[in-house]
Symmetry: C2
Subunit: 148 residues, 2 copies
DNA sequence: CTGAATCCCATCGGATACTG
DNA sequence: CAGTATCCGATGGGATTCAG
């Protein structure tokens, strides 16, 4: 099955047409051709949200602003190092805002920027998809593995 | 700035409320707690679309079904090995269908499954976001790097 | 509390060569 | 054409230690 010959509509989500996808691929190609040196924005985004922690941090900050230590406790399994590293990356990309309160002991609060909030919507629809189709995917894997 | 205290609406996209995000986090937590052994569907999805080639392949197959060699030419920079490996992964997850035509020489056509098509919508809205906000992000990086 | 610096290993993915 | 197998360098990320 494929997407040929028409418009695929998804319940409640924006419609996707072949034209859209074609334009997208063209957009990507354009970046690849014009500046092969590296900076494809799609690649960049995938590298970010593809890393181990960025999405979980964005989802958490989508709920509420939070301090460093609180994030460390909230996000199960993350190391201190990776929390700082990932937050720096998100801050650099303009997705997360870092505010320092000069108290004793020091307090630093992280929050989503407007840009971060705008990304949050797309990310959560993706993670929604993952949760909704978890069993389907799991089933597909079992069937695939069964047929060796 | 943050998402506290209300509903964030995005132009043309589904609305995102704090409740949604909270439920999402709960959903993730549930998986983490109940089966820490590994299989969080969100983690799984991120691992897949976070790898170097899956998204590009899905976008390409969203345009048209295609044979192995054609994909290899279409997707700039991918190695033969990674194309097979990635296609196997996508097939295992039930996102891509593989059809073998027993001709000489052999021909194998890949296409998106209905599940793959349903994911395509979310992915393309993400990559759309990346292209739309590319300059904004680039600017944020420059400003961040400037302030060392 | 918030972080930077170091060490170190597991995995990802590219190059290359070989098969049906 | 459509793969598989091996080798191997680059990178991601955890544990630990030190600093303001």
């Amino acid at each position: 099955m494929n997407a040929k010959g028409g418009t695929n509509s998804f319940d409640g989500h924006p419609q996707v047409t072949n034209t859209n996808i074609a334009e997208l691929n063209q957009g990507i190609d354009a970046w690849v051709e014009n500046d092969f040196s590296g900076a494809c924005p799609v690649r960049d985004l995938l590298d970010r949200i593809g890393d181990k922690w960025s999405v979980l941090i964005i989802l958490r900050l989508g709920q509420q602003d939070e301090r460093f230590r609180a994030l460390l406790r909230a996000i199960e399994g993350i190391s201190q190092r990776m929390l700082t590293v990932t937050l720096r990356g998100l801050e650099r990309d303009g997705l997360v805002h870092r505010e320092v309160f000069d108290t004793r002991p020091p307090s630093v609060v992280y929050s989503l920027t407007p840009l971060g909030v705008s990304l949050l919507g797309h990310i959560s629809s993706l993670t929604d998809w993952a949760l909704e189709n978890a069993t389907t995917v799991e089933l597909a894997k079992s069937r695939y593995d069964a047929n060796t």
